[in-house]
């Protein structure tokens, strides 16, 4: 199939591994899904210490289940990416370990305290879910199928995150204050989750033209603000003065992009931001420490598959 045909046909769930797709499509889709999968893994990596630090047994259970789900989403997404035939899961995980794999800006920052948990578990997950819901109509069928399962599970994450926020904002004065401080620190990063405005996004046009991406960064960011600014206020959080946010006549919101730190954002995008590098390297070390197990399993798999040389006799 040539690129023009792809663009003509590009509808929801239109293309599957049975289709012969041009390299441009397969590479763009791989890049996008690999980024998504990497983000699941790095998000889980960031949150995992809080399974231990959760302040009750039920919270610990929910947190363990949530981190488990994120790894499950990584599993689904790497398969969806792998099925494009460009890279194997192992190659993608190795790239992630080596600092070549890219992932969401928010997961490059350190997560230091429980009061920061809702920033990830409610706002970032809420933002992710906004985007993921639109990706159920992506043109790469295996990606859309993965999104069906991810969206099915994700409602638990967002609601659990909101429950933690509610608890903190109805807790002691100190808890409320510290949560507000965490919110102020995280708010600009959360808005940057959706990336730069469409004029500055390098990959948007192509991904949109072949149906991989269903909504632009600007549309998604605005839809997020419309939903989550009222939520934040309901819980007693004050929206910081910067970045400036304008309320339109119809009650929807738009952000003043110039108020955000795009130098930091692009440093992060290149995996050059210091705390993020620490997380990448920490995960790399963990991955390398169990390399011996993967080698053991793979040896077995070759033998059991009957394709090993000794099967000949």
């Amino acid at each position: 199939m040539d690129l023009n045909t792809v663009k003509e046909r590009a509808g929801p769930r239109e293309f599957s591994p049975a289709d012969d797709l041009p390299r441009e499509y397969r590479e763009a889709a791989t890049r996008m899904i690999e980024f998504h999968a990497n983000s699941e893994i790095m998000g889980a990596y960031l949150e995992r210490p809080f399974i231990r630090q959760a302040p009750s047994i039920d919270r610990k259970l929910a947190f363990s289940a949530k981190v488990q789900d994120e790894i499950g989403h990584g599993q689904l997404l790497y398969r969806a990416a792998e099925s494009l035939g460009v890279k194997t899961r192992e190659e993608m995980l190795d790239d992630l370990a080596n600092g070549d794999g890219k992932f969401l800006n928010c997961f490059h920052y350190p997560l230091k305290s429980w009061v920061e948990i809702p920033m990830i578990s409610f706002f970032v997950d809420g933002a992710a879910m906004r985007r993921q819901a639109t990706l159920r109509r992506t043109s790469w069928e295996p990606y859309a199928h993965a999104m069906d399962k991810v969206c099915f599970e994700e409602g638990f994450h967002v609601k659990h995150g909101e429950d933690i926020l509610k608890e903190l904002m109805t807790g002691s004065r100190a808890e409320q204050q510290r949560t507000q401080e965490a919110f102020e620190e995280w708010w600009p990063r959360i808005i940057q989750f959706f990336g730069p405005t469409d004029d500055k996004s390098t990959h948007h046009d192509f991904a949109a033209s072949v149906g991989l991406k269903q909504q632009s960064n600007d549309e998604l960011r605005d839809a997020f603000l419309d939903q989550y600014i009222p939520k934040a206020r309901k819980h007693g959080l004050e929206i910081p003065d910067e970045p400036r946010i304008r309320e339109r006549d119809d009650g929807t919101y738009a952000v003043e992009e110039g108020d955000l730190d795009w130098d930091e954002f692009f440093t992060i995008a290149k995996n050059d931001y210091e705390p993020g590098l620490g997380q990448i390297n920490g995960r790399k070390q963990a991955q390398e420490a169990v390399q011996w197990v993967r080698e053991t399993i793979e040896d077995d798999a070759t033998t059991a598959g009957g394709h090993a040389p000794q099967a000949a006799d």
Binding site: S16, L61, M129, R130, E154, G155, V158, E162
Partner: protein, 105 residues
Amino acid sequence: MIWEVFRQEKTGGYHTHCGNVHAPDREMAKQFAAIQHGRRKPTNSLWVVPREEVGEIDSEDVVFGGATDRSYRWATAYNTTGEDAREVVESEDEQATAERQRGDD
């Protein structure tokens, strides 16, 4: 040799198990499946898989989803404040349906 057959009704849908065929090899399995399982029901694509390659684990082997309370992993366990995002509501509805179906066993 028996081949399990999975049918996808239309583009973008899931391949779900719909039956099986006897056939000596993969090529003939595909041809037989096309007629036996694709001739009436709406079909966009079929997969064939050797039956002997299928492993099974059933509810006698394992309690799927566990036996102890796991309500913490369902959206329905949490109350929120104000209006929830559309996609959160959808997810919760899907989860509530799945929970009900699990309970119906």
